[in-house]
Amino acid sequence: MLKILKYSFYDLMRSRWSYVYFLFYLLLGFVLLFLNNDVDKAVITLMNIIIVLTPLIGTIFGVMYYYNSKEFTELLLAQPINRSKIFMGQYLGISISLTLSLVLGLGIPFVLYGLFKSAAIFNFSLLLVVGAFLNFIFVALSYNIALSTENKIKGFGYAILMWLFLAVIYDGIFLISLVVFNSYPLDKFSLAATMFNPIDLSRILILLKLDISALLGYTGAVFRKFFGTNFGMLISMGVLVLWVVLPVFRMNLKLRKKDF
């Protein structure tokens, strides 16, 4: 697995798109920090971007890599290696290289800015951790879609739809149902609904640090426990890990029966 990982990673790290992605974050980091000079605002803007963009890029990279390397994967499949190792290697290769682009792209400007002395270091690291999680989750999800869809165009379409659903539509439905069922107790429902969408989950994790003053305005014991103690942080992190583990697990399940 490590061998496959190594070469997928090499391949991707040399791809033009990795550079573009890296440079995008680098530029973003510099612009936000040096033209704005307000770390709080920079972290908020970054959060908005990371939460939408990393899932999109993870999805696209995952699907593209799967379909583009289909023939090479067949060559690998004919080698004396376990199937799941090949795909785990590729999966990790993509996820790690994307995460590296993110961490280096944003890390360099922040380090140059003198982040280590700033109080925002914790918020910023959380942002990177969440971004990394989103990479791993969405590459896994898109690999699942690609593995289940033979047709490249269809697979690509489904993947983008999935992203659109989780990034925008889900929250729309969520918000509308909150407004419609206004008169019922909604605290458990809203926390649960958050858990079922990795983008919302990541957003909540960052909100826990960034907007805790607002979140503590909630009444209701469930909210108080969730936001007022470390409980919320632990649960969210745990569910985020599940969001990586479950798609990876399904990937392996699918692989056992898959024909190439």
Binding site: I4, Y10, R14, E71, L75, P80, I81, N82
Partner: protein, 235 residues
């Protein structure tokens, strides 16, 4: 050496292999032929473990290959389409594949033979289709294995490379290797194959030597003999 037993494979409603039985003995060149969609590639992929049969079993050197992977160490495969990670160099690719198998490889000889020396540091994404196919051939032949599976090996090769390919195949055969080839180029089959396996509708329709086929169809030209075979089926 290889034995397919009552092999069934369906893709959705489409039946591709329908209770296929086939035995291939060690040594010699076997051409697997058949019209488009007759299940040639599926058959090979079943052997390679890429396609999982619905029913039946496959034995390689007396052991079932289903859900196994270690047996592939004694098997070389040349895929139909040569498409590699575009940002790796030729050398890196060769090293990677070598890395994946616990065998020694004799890639130098093949690189020389196909004139790939000057391409070693080039990225695979920048190579022409023919050069990629040459790399593909190097990868397939650089290990010393008892079985060699070639899926459309002549794709995009220039005449010189084609001659080299035939030489290599011959050489391997002389070493006592078993070689499975699928192809549409009948002249190539005529030239290299010892035996022909003809697939039709997911079953073995004919298995025997080239001469036996010619004799059976009363046709000296292999191409016509094959056409005759198909025509008879649909008549």
């Amino acid at each position: 050496m290889i034995e397919f037993k009552n092999l069934h494979k369906r893709f959705g409603k489409l039946v591709v292999l329908d209770g296929l039985d086939l035995e291939i003995n060690k040594g010699g060149i076997f051409a697997i032929l058949g019209p488009n969609g007759s299940g040639k590639t599926t058959l090979i992929k079943c052997l390679l473990g890429m396609v999982i049969p619905n029913k039946g079993d496959i034995f390689f050197e007396k052991k079932s290959v289903l859900r196994q992977w270690a047996y592939r160490n004694n098997l070389n495969y040349l895929p139909q389409i040569a498409n590699f990670p575009p940002n790796l160099t030729v050398l890196e690719l060769i090293n990677m594949v070598k890395n994946l198998r616990p065998k020694t490889a004799n890639e130098q000889e093949l690189i020389e033979l196909f004139g790939l020396k000057s391409f070693l540091d080039k990225k695979l994404g920048n190579l022409s289709g023919g050069t990629k196919q040459k790399v593909n051939i190097v990868l397939a032949f650089m290990f010393d294995s008892d079985l060699i599976v070639l899926d459309e090996p002549t794709n995009g090769l220039d005449p010189i490379a084609l001659i080299h390919l035939k030489e290599i195949i011959q050489k391997e055969k002389d070493k006592g290797k078993t070689i499975l080839i699928t192809t549409h180029i009948m002249s190539f089959v005529d030239e290299v194959a010892d035996e022909i396996v003809f697939l039709l509708d997911g079953k073995i329709y004919f298995k025997g030597t080239v001469d036996a086929l010619k004799k059976q169809t009363n046709n000296d030209n292999l191409e016509h003999a094959i056409a005759n075979l198909i025509a008879k089926q649909y008549a």
